[in-house]
Symmetry: C2
Subunit: 161 residues, 2 copies
């Protein structure tokens, strides 16, 4: 990674835009529970232990942004309720959660070890995130990376320098 | 990924513990700027455009948690100031930022494209995160993963079911 500060505008940064949607702890934990198989409001509420107003707000935002889809269901004799399923856009966010999980496993776990293991269904081995390039070089570390202005780069204004 | 809800306690979840440290937009953006080469308080403040009180709080937390180290420096004729450098613990969080960036590039970029490209220093190809297993199978998707209780798993209490 370069040591010269990268001087382009952050104003359209892809990291910041993603965090504008999911950069709040409960949003990512709702997604975690969706990945773990929860679909119904009460399932999320029980698993997360957060307030129902917060959960409603986070689910609504994830639906608005297209990461989850709300679908009606009805149990016999009960009113129509809604369940929440990950969309393709939501599913693609999983590497973020896996990267958070693996860092937490390494730096934050109790002495008895991580509470959850994510295993490859095919072979049972532990799954992790790896940084690699389109040229097939892997694994890379942050020291192998050069940030460069992309096609949407904007020069930082004076305030940014 | 299993469709049966995963019924172990979230109370020691590695994702939640990581988010307790960096699960706030400004913390991750401070780390982004550190990866882009910023070191000094004023550099972070100008690049981020956030309030100085927020920046101070976020930097202090990242130092307390060992993701950044504070080191004194002194320009001729000025008082001693501090700069902030990523530690190994902080560097290892980079896959989280790369995963956020790549998702944002795909789903949130303007029509002219992503503002930043991260290229492999060795060959110039674009860098991304990939999910792979210790058995060498790659790339995996979330549908290839099974969550299993790990050595630190705790049974969910009644409230959790």
């Amino acid at each position: 990674m370069t040591r010269e500060p990268f001087a382009y505008s952050n104003e359209n940064c892809s990291i910041a835009r993603t965090l504008d949607i999911v950069g709040e702890k409960w949003s990512l934990l709702v997604l975690r529970e969706a990945f773990y198989g929860r679909r119904r409001f009460d399932e999320f509420a029980r698993a997360l232990g957060c307030g129902r107003a917060i959960l409603t707000a986070r689910l609504n935002r994830l639906v608005e942004e297209g990461l989850m889809a709300r679908r009606p269901y009805q149990e016999p004799g009960e009113r129509t309720r809604h369940e929440y399923r990950l969309t393709g856009k939501g599913v693609e966010l999983f590497p973020v959660l896996l990267a958070l999980l693996r860092w937490g496993d390494r730096w934050m776990a109790d002495d008895d070890g991580p509470p959850v293991e994510l295993l490859h269904h095919g072979c049972g081995e532990a799954v992790s995130v790896t940084m690699s390039c389109a040229g097939g070089h892997t694994p890379l570390t942050v020291f192998d990376l050069d940030p460069r202005p992309g096609p949407g780069a904007r020069l930082a204004d004076r305030h940014d320098h």
